[in-house]
């Protein structure tokens, strides 16, 4: 029982961490049809920014600083998103999708190089805030409080995003633009502004995710790449632009990967990829069905 319980728990942890990264990715994907490779890079920058904030305040991480830091990272990376939209995305609006993909890949490399130059090569390991760095015992399962926090954050993020997209007016505008940008423009909507808002919001989510996940693993310039493939898989499986799809896909893939490595520990990382291949073979549109946006 312990084993199954822990495996489920760890699978949820993987899922929610990946969802936090993938949420912003799927938004940009659905609205601008750009798969933003650099999302991993900006997630990483968010983590490093949050680290610098922590160091600026003395090097310890009380709970309030942790949360404030994550928000601040979100803002900083959101601003970077504004710059990236202006300099890169806007120019690629009318160009083939392929070029945007390559441009975002190039951006990822630049992010990695920039992080190296600014923060150096050394590994850094930051512990979660002391308030969260405990363990909760349920029966004979022990669950680190920080992991529970991440899982809850993922769920909260999901609920918040769903609400934003389906209930608020901005969310509705975004959905309209995603569904038919040409029509939206004809109807007088400021499509450019909507795109800009989406990009900034998506980057801000990447930055916040980075700040939240900073104490989850070691910090190094490779951090961007680690979550990227997982996030891509989740977005592909979940369907272009669908937050709901991304959430369910993350849960599915997280549990598969966790149980896979439980039964076959010598093959880490394979189950997630195999599951992706098999599910797409059976259901090419992804688990949410046809191109549903948000």
């Amino acid at each position: 029982m312990y084993d199954i319980g822990m495996t489920v728990f760890n699978g949820l942890a993987w899922a929610m961490a990946t969802f936090l990264v993938a949420a912003g990715l799927t938004l940009i994907f659905g609205i601008l049809h750009i798969l933003n490779f650099a999302h991993g890079g900006f997630f990483m920058i968010g983590a490093y920014v949050s680290y610098s904030i922590m160091m600026a305040f003395g090097g310890s991480l009380p709970l309030w600083l942790y949360l404030v830091g994550a928000m601040a990272s979100g803002i900083v990376v959101g601003l970077l998103g504004w710059a990236v939209d202006k300099l890169v995305f806007r120019r690629l609006r009318d160009v083939e999708d392929a070029y945007s993909l390559i441009a975002t890949y190039a951006l990822l490399l630049v992010c990695g190089g920039a992080v190296q130059l600014i923060w150096g090569l050394n590994y850094m390991g930051v512990m979660p805030p002391p308030a969260l760095n405990t363990v909760v015992f349920v029966g004979d399962m022990f669950m680190p409080t920080f992991t529970i926090f991440i899982i809850l954050s993922g769920i909260v993020a999901y609920i918040g995003l769903e609400f934003f997209i389906s209930k608020t007016s901005t969310g509705r505008l975004i959905r309209v633009v995603a569904a038919d940008p040409w029509m939206a423009q004809l109807l007088g909507l400021n499509v450019k502004k909507i795109y800009l808002i989406t990009v900034i919001f998506s980057f801000a989510m990447a930055g916040t995710a980075g700040g939240l996940l900073m104490p989850n693993q070691s910090l190094s310039p490779e951090l961007g790449g680690i979550f990227l493939l997982q996030a891509f898989g989740v977005v592909i499986l979940g369907g272009m632009g669908s937050i709901r799809g991304a959430f369910y896909a993350a849960l599915l893939l997280g549990l598969i990967e966790s149980f896979g490595t439980y039964f076959f520990p010598q093959y880490p990382g394979i189950f997630f990829l195999l599951a992706l291949a098999v599910i797409l073979l059976l259901k090419p549109e992804g688990i949410m069905g046809k191109g549903q946006t948000a």
């Binding site: 312990y2 993987w14 512990m127 363990v135 693993q217 520990p265």
Partner: protein
């Protein structure tokens, strides 16, 4: 420590020699007077750049030291650096290019895969390489090649040394588990650990060691929690780990709330030196780590002191790691060998290196003729969190074990025989 682009190196790289080199032929470049050019092929970009930097500093400090003391038969040592990108293809291109331009004597290999690839390459192209940290046991066993030398620990001396020291100082620890990265280096180190432990514990205590199946972890992954859960289920007193670099930091970081290392008495780390401690600072779990070179253990050795002080002066970093000493030792070995032969021809230098005893930052090292493996002291240090140090950690114990006692017998061309440990 922020990354500093060494302007000197940039100018050097773009210098006339760099641009003209492709059109030089080996004949003109390897004149038997004038400066001696040694090629250093090591990761200068990418994830392993952290280690490559130590190699670079160590090599440069070594070369400076030799040149300040009259050079080799009056000739200066010059270094040509190339980025191996930890990729055997890129490394072999770099090595070939260097050989083509006359730098047939090389050093700096860190990656085991690259080291294994070097043998056949150097044999056909004509060159020698002294590795600076490649940890595969195949190098002086089944993949032995006379053109490849290892002046550092073999994985046996390193790990068997670690094990013997711990077993001798804490024979009460009999129940062991391992957290091992799922690749060659991880698997080999575990084999050696297990075999040595199973031999030594009964010798010391008369009882068998209880060693659980190792937990194999992926490398480059962000989430080790499943594996930590697995490890938590084991009833152990000591943990051995050869997880490397950033993965080790993540592993230790994520283990903390589980209390994995509080549950156990001893944590043995095969090779991370200060990587974990500098990353985690006062959150570092107390652990023993194997070192290629620990400066405190070698205080008083002029080579070691010079290496340490020059390094600190160059970088401002107080914690040089052993790879610097390995590159440094390679320079020392080449210098002595070239002095002996009077020239830099591949076959002559190989003959001179075989059986060579030379002085290094860890004391005298002796390169075995049979398998090109050096016998050197195996160094270990105990790192603990410390609130009084700026860095958050302190070394409270260290040991330098006589190489003769921990190295495996020479078996070039054959696989490692664990029964000999």
């Amino acid at each position: 420590m922020a990354y500093k682009i060494n302007r000197r190196a940039v100018v050097k790289g773009m210098g006339a020699t760099g641009l003209a080199m492709p059109f030089l032929n080996a004949a003109t470049a390897s004149a038997q007077s004038g400066p001696i050019t040694l090629g250093v092929v090591t990761p200068l970009s990418g994830p392993a750049q952290l280690i490559g930097n130590f190699v670079r500093h160590g090599a440069e400090i070594g070369a400076d030291y030799i040149n300040a003391n009259g050079g080799v038969n009056g000739r200066e040592i010059q270094l040509e650096f190339r980025d191996s990108k930890v990729n055997p293809n890129d490394a072999s291109v770099a090595a070939r290019e260097l050989i083509g331009a006359g730098a047939n004597l090389q050093l700096g290999t860190i990656s085991s895969a690259v080291a294994l690839a070097m043998g056949p390459l150097l044999e056909s192209e004509g060159g020698v390489v002294i590795t600076s940290g490649a940890g595969t046991d195949k190098l002086n066993h089944e993949n032995y090649n006379p053109h490849v030398f290892r002046v550092g620990d073999s994985p046996v001396s390193r790990n068997a040394g670690l094990v013997r020291h711990i077993a001798n100082s804490r024979p009460d620890i009999r129940k062991w588990a391992g957290i091992i990265p799922d690749h060659e280096y991880g698997r080999t180190t575990w084999k050696i650990f297990e075999a040595t432990m199973r031999k030594v514990i009964p010798e010391l205590t008369g009882e068998e060691a209880e060693i659980a199946e190792p937990v194999l972890v992926p490398y480059g992954s962000g989430d080790y929690r499943n594996y930590i859960s697995q490890a938590m289920r084991l009833d152990v007193e000591g943990i051995y780990t050869s997880v490397y670099g950033g993965d080790a930091v993540t592993l230790y970081q994520q283990s903390q709330p589980f209390g994995l290392f509080e549950k156990t008495d001893v944590l043995l780390d095969s090779a991370n030196e200060f990587l974990v401690a500098t990353a985690m600072r006062e959150q570092t779990p107390a652990h023993w780590s194997g070192f290629h070179w620990y400066y405190e253990a070698n205080k008083g050795n002029p080579l070691s002191d010079d290496l340490y002080s020059s390094y600190v002066e160059r970088t401002g970093d107080q914690y040089p790691m052993g790879w610097a000493a390995e590159a440094h030792a390679a320079i020392m070995a080449y210098a002595k060998a070239i002095e002996k032969t009077g020239n830099t021809d591949t076959m002559d230098v190989i003959a001179a290196l075989k059986g060579l005893s030379f002085d290094s930052a860890t004391g005298m090292r002796h390169i075995r003729e049979e398998d090109n493996q050096a016998i050197k002291n195996a160094e270990l240090a105990f790192i603990e969190p410390s609130s009084s140090e700026d860095s958050g950690f302190a070394v409270t114990d260290y040991v330098s074990l006589d190489g003769e006692k921990v190295v495996e017998p020479a078996r070039p061309g054959k696989t490692l025989d664990l029964s000999t440990l």
